[in-house]
């Protein structure tokens, strides 16, 4: 070990990077299982129903929230990366764009929650 660890990672861009990477790994682990269970609809419907019954359990519901979080984080991480690398905008322009997107989603989510 060294006398001081590497602390040069404690900044937003690096944290965004690691969040994107870890959410991607999480999804990569989840997707094969997801597709396998979906395939049961064709091969073994009773077993599929057994799995679907699991979704009534609170812990599974909580895990689903985590899954949606991973998906959302990974999607926005990807959009962020593409915007950052492919659109030669100035930093204030990017901040404005990110703010506008966040505000749009806030309004859309509020609207959705009113609707349901």
């Amino acid at each position: 070990m060294r006398a001081a660890g590497i602390t040069s990672r404690a900044h937003p861009l690096w944290l965004a990077y690691i969040l994107h990477r870890l959410s991607g790994l999480g999804l990569a682990l989840f997707l094969p299982v997801h597709f396998w269970i979906l395939s049961l609809a064709l091969t073994d419907p009773t077993r599929l129903d057994g799995f679907l019954a699991l979704t009534d359990i609170g812990a599974v519901k909580l895990a689903e929230v985590g899954l949606v979080f991973l998906l959302a984080v990974h999607m926005f991480g990807g959009l962020r990366l593409m915007a950052m690398e492919w659109l030669p905008w100035t930093p204030p322009q990017k901040t404005l764009a990110a703010g506008a997107t966040a505000l749009s989603f806030l309004i859309a989510t509020l609207f959705l929650m009113q609707a349901v």
């Binding site: 590497i6 937003p12 861009l13 990077y17 492919w86």
Partner: protein, 237 residues
């Protein structure tokens, strides 16, 4: 004179470090502290510096795990509980104590075609440079690099891939690509799109965060990504 002393830990090898009590002064820099240790406590301590005013780029070290130019980093900025840890730059082979071998860093500078590609001779008129052109503004944004290797030490992609050219060399390639006096476009795009090239970059942004001159290598590399992609699709047509 000195009111109190600082606890300074200096890394001397992969698993060894020495702790020194260094008198505190007003406006003291990290380089001042290292120099005090070498002049007053341990003359065998090796470190590198030259200009002491942030121009030469030779005194960069890891300070509390963060790469910094030590001559222009005040102790007041980095002290934690009156203590600081100083080590050699990351991602480069250590020669001794705080001195690293900069050869890989400069070799990659050349590897990224960070050299002048001229076509004119001394008999030709000087190429006109339009200071207001978009390309010149891009080039100007990166030319104040002092080759200190702080970005190179901050980059995790460099740590993970020894062939990666790194932020400084790629930024240099980007400035040359945008330089009206440089005719190396094909050579540069070829050099930066190889296995160690710009597409290794994960946009972690540590280079831009820690560049002591407030340059933005991450955006320069993004520019190279766009240009190499454009040139790929053009050839494919």
């Amino acid at each position: 004179m000195t009111a109190h002393s600082l606890k300074v830990t200096i890394e001397r090898g992969p698993d060894t470090w020495d702790v020194f009590d260094v008198p505190a002064y007003e406006s003291q820099t990290v380089l001042d502290v290292v120099s005090w240790v070498q002049q007053n406590a341990d003359p065998t301590l090796s470190y590198r510096f030259a200009c002491r005013v942030g121009m030469c780029g030779s005194c960069a070290m890891m300070v509390n795990g963060v790469p910094r130019w030590t001559c222009r980093t005040h102790m007041s900025k980095v002290l934690k509980d009156n203590a600081v840890t100083i080590g050699p730059l990351r991602n480069l082979p250590v020669v001794k104590d705080l001195v690293v071998d900069m050869d890989p860093f400069f070799d990659k500078w050349v590897g990224a075609e960070g050299v002048h590609h001229g076509t004119l001779t001394r008999d030709d008129p000087i190429a006109p440079v339009d200071e207001t052109s978009e390309a010149r503004i891009e080039a100007n944004a990166g030319i104040e690099c002092i080759n200190c290797s702080v970005c190179y030490a901050a980059c995790d992609t460099v740590a993970g891939n020894p062939d990666y050219l790194g932020p400084a060399a790629l930024q240099r390639a980007w400035t040359l690509l945008n330089d009206a006096k440089d005719e190396g476009r094909v050579a540069i795009l070829d050099a930066v799109s190889g296995s160690g090239g710009c597409h290794n970059c994960h946009s972690m942004g540590s280079c831009t965060t820690y560049c002591p001159n407030d340059l933005d290598p991450m955006s320069a590399i993004a520019g190279l990504k766009r240009e190499t992609a454009k040139s790929f699709f053009r050839r494919g047509r």
